[in-house]
């Protein structure tokens, strides 16, 4: 029996990060929620305080997508990508890059959508350009996390 809810993250090889989550919905619907801009901008928001004013998706092989986020405190973040492979409703492959390039070059993102007994398992594999790039991204992620904590601390001290 597949359990919905928990996000599982593994690092099966030295340049990959794999994330798995089960949803209580048919996979066609999951595919739509991942690829239709008006649906994506409702959930792909990240940590609290962020909104997604830009969400443009040209869903065809070679087509581009562009996401941009904004925090209530004025911080901005953006990323863009190109669709390499689209198999509705089971598979999407894209090459993407954050504007700040904190992943050490483009990442290849493979999304696999598998349905079993009405439940859908979403597996996202992020392949970095090298082990150094992945670990670099992890370090930057840590640095950003520390930075975010300091930001919160600062806000707290100013209040």
């Amino acid at each position: 029996m597949t359990k919905t809810g928990a996000v599982k993250i593994t690092t099966p090889t030295d340049r990959e990060l794999v994330m798995t989550r089960v949803f209580d919905a048919p996979r066609g619907m999951v595919f739509d929620a991942l690829t239709k801009a008006d649906l994506v901008k409702r959930w792909l928001l990240g940590p609290p305080g962020w909104t997604m004013p830009v969400c443009e998706i040209d869903l065809r092989v070679g087509g581009k997508y562009r996401y941009a986020w904004q925090n209530a405190d004025g911080r901005k973040m953006g990323m863009g990508g190109t669709f390499k492979e689209i198999v509705r409703p089971s598979r999407i492959v894209t090459a993407e890059l954050f504007d700040e390039d904190w992943t050490g070059g483009e990442t290849l993102v493979t999304t696999e959508i598998v349905e079993t007994n009405g439940k859908t398992t979403l597996t996202t594999t992020v392949r970095y350009s090298s082990r150094e790039a992945r670990d670099g991204a992890i370090k930057t992620g840590m640095a950003k996390g520390v930075e975010a904590s300091y930001d919160r601390l600062e806000a707290l001290l100013q209040a």
């Binding site: 993250i9 690092t11 030295d14 989550r21 649906l39 940590p47 082990r131 992890i138 370090k139 840590m142």
Partner: protein
């Protein structure tokens, strides 16, 4: 950043191997000698020693001072740093996917309505029935 940040590459490389992860899991229960660590595995003691060297270089384990036994001990800090990041990443995606759950629930509701409407439409309507 923290002084141990630079060692993350080594941490992840060390964790990429299943034998080394098993060794760490064993050491999480308490210190152990090389012989004790090698016991559950079907590999030679020199091979185990090699794995231990990798773990040691990554700062994940240290050696005890007891001259004879030299038990290996788990060093929790580098592991905690690596898992901290993964934990943060996981939290962000947990929040994203929770919102996605809500979007999917709404889509399911809409689809059900459409299906119900279709069933309603295809029901034979008594007035349009052809007379024999």
């Amino acid at each position: 950043m923290k002084p141990h940040g630079y060692a993350l590459d080594a941490t992840f490389a060390a964790l990429a191997d299943p034998t080394r992860r098993a060794i760490l899991a064993r050491l999480a229960d308490g210190e152990a000698t090389v012989t004790e660590l090698a016991a559950p595995f079907d590999i030679s003691q020199p091979a185990i020693s090699k794995h231990l060297k990798v773990l040691e270089r990554a700062g994940l384990i240290t050696r005890g001072r007891e001259a004879q036994r030299r038990p290996r001990k788990l060093e929790p800090r580098p592991l905690a740093e690596a898992t901290d990041w993964i934990e943060r990443y996981r939290k962000i995606w947990e929040a994203n996917y929770k919102r996605l759950d809500a979007v999917l629930e709404e889509l399911k509701g809409k689809q059900k309505k459409t299906v119900d409407a279709l069933i309603e439409e295809t029901k034979p309507k008594p007035r349009k029935r052809k007379a024999k």
